[in-house]
């Protein structure tokens, strides 16, 4: 077995008694004691996540915009000002999702994409193959020298300014999905929790310093366990569960991220146009007692489906899930979820389930 990769904050996790687990080949904190408390900490106050296992990649050169217009299913022409961020899927020619990502605009010759940890190597290889064929002058530069810290929660901004005096002047006015370079650092108002907050990319060697300052400002460390329940409540898709290379964005509730209109030709567009759309992503809330989990079968009047992400929602004190079901299923429908050979009742609900600390269902 090869050794797990460690982020620049590994020593900090150990000092905080994190339960460390293998996550896509990285040794990452699952929790620091109680996943439930960490979940509530982010919904009610402020917490921080080490997400340095994700890979920022710089795309530099004159051809970068047209290259990314072809590489990504969302349209980078929506990015026209420095720091602006866009969520997108990267598709293969068949329309399946290679990865979901955020792309940032730095300037006309410089965009940055953040790939999922588990997809980083194949993503890089894919991007390089496309580059070699269509934009050989373009530079693709993986930034393993950067650490990433996400600070999330209703008090994230106030406590972050406390931790880093001077940051408010630059980042304080950022709207959601905007970012700004701050010296060696890049700060964006993005996240994966459904709360206000920031994602910071900074030199790896500076990460422990920021982490410590944030701790002293009352921002508590949060593990990947709570990150998963937070994103599920926020209705945000997780690559490898809610979608993968065999699933199109339309089947994963991500149609809003695909810019189909216009003449722009992107990889996968042709397939997306011709494939039938007979499956959709819906939210489920369990009515009977139990816990919805990934891969549980769902039975509906329109045919069978499957849970792609499920769990216990600490905010709602109920079990919720994202499920892929036949297109005829409507909001408000009753469906059955098969849990340990029993059919339990669930309701089809809209998602996100929770935003900014408030239950939406």
């Amino acid at each position: 077995m090869t050794a797990l990769k460690q982020t620049p904050l590994n020593a900090q996790h150990r000092a905080a008694h994190a339960k460390l687990v293998d996550f896509s080949g990285w040794e990452m904190p699952l929790h620091y004691g109680s996943q439930l408390e960490e979940h509530h900490q982010v919904r009610r106050d402020a917490g921080m996540f080490d997400v340095s296992h994700m890979l920022p990649v710089d795309f530099r050169g004159e051809a970068v915009r047209p290259f990314l217009k072809r590489l990504l299913a969302n349209d980078v022409d929506k990015l026209q000002t420095t720091g602006r961020a866009l969520y997108s899927c990267m598709l293969h020619a068949g329309g399946g999702v290679i990865d979901d990502l955020i792309v940032y605009y730095l300037n006309e010759n410089w965009f940055r994409i953040v790939f999922n940890a588990g997809c980083a190597e194949k993503d890089l290889a894919w991007a390089e193959t496309q580059r070699d064929a269509h934009a050989p002058e373009l530079e693709i530069i993986p930034r393993r020298d950067l650490a990433m810290i996400a600070v999330q929660g209703p008090n994230a901004a106030a406590k972050l300014w406390q931790a880093m005096p001077g940051l408010e002047g630059v980042a304080g006015t950022l709207k959601a999905f905007y970012g700004a370079p701050v010296g060696e650092m890049f700060v964006a108002r993005t996240g994966y929790t459904g709360e206000d907050g920031f994602e910071l990319m900074l030199p790896a060697k500076a990460a422990p310093f920021l982490w410590q300052a944030a701790l002293e400002a009352g921002i508590r460390p949060i593990g990947l366990g709570a990150r998963d329940t937070l994103r599920l409540e926020a209705g945000m898709a997780l690559y490898g569960q809610d979608m993968d290379e065999g699933i199109t964005p339309f089947e994963a509730g991500l149609a809003w991220t695909v810019a189909m209109d216009g003449e722009r030709d992107f990889i996968g567009k042709h397939s997306l146009k011709s494939l039938p759309r007979n499956r959709q992503m819906v939210g489920l809330k369990l009515i009977d007692r139990g816990v919805l989990r990934i891969h549980q079968p769902v039975e509906t009047e329109h045919g069978a489906g499957e849970i792609t992400s499920g769990g216990f929602s600490p905010t709602l004190n109920a079990s919720i899930a994202l499920a892929r079901v036949p297109s005829g299923v409507q909001l408000g429908d009753r469906v059955e979820v098969i849990i340990r050979d029993r059919a339990l009742a669930a309701e089809v609900v809209k998602y996100p389930f929770v935003r900014h600390g408030k239950a939406l269902i």
Binding site: H31, Q35, G290, V291, G311, P314, S319
Partner: protein, 129 residues
Amino acid sequence: MSIPTDLKYTPSHEWARLDADGSVTVGITDHAQELLGDMVFIENPSVGRMVAAGEECAVVESVKAASDVYAPIAGEVIAVNEAIEAEPQRLNEDAFENWLFRVKPAHAADLDSLMDAVAYQAAVDAEAH
């Protein structure tokens, strides 16, 4: 947390206690709750159900995963702890205090085949290596 010496244990991390009335109270060990993390759901067997030793008869679910609980001995389920079903997180607070269900043993001597605290501690230690 130390392992109580007045209880018996299974390799699948249940504890069993022989009560004065001859019934056996069953729960999961502190080691089990720690492995599973924050508990969010408990499903006990129905009262009156006959269970075989080693049979799956309850489920505890944490934020992380669902885990089966096995009957340490054969017998009839005569009571379940409804309070723990209402507040599963109490299992995290004290796994040895918060029981799951009680069994009227088919054979009282079956309890002797379970591990004592020393043997269970050794099993937990071995698992860590």
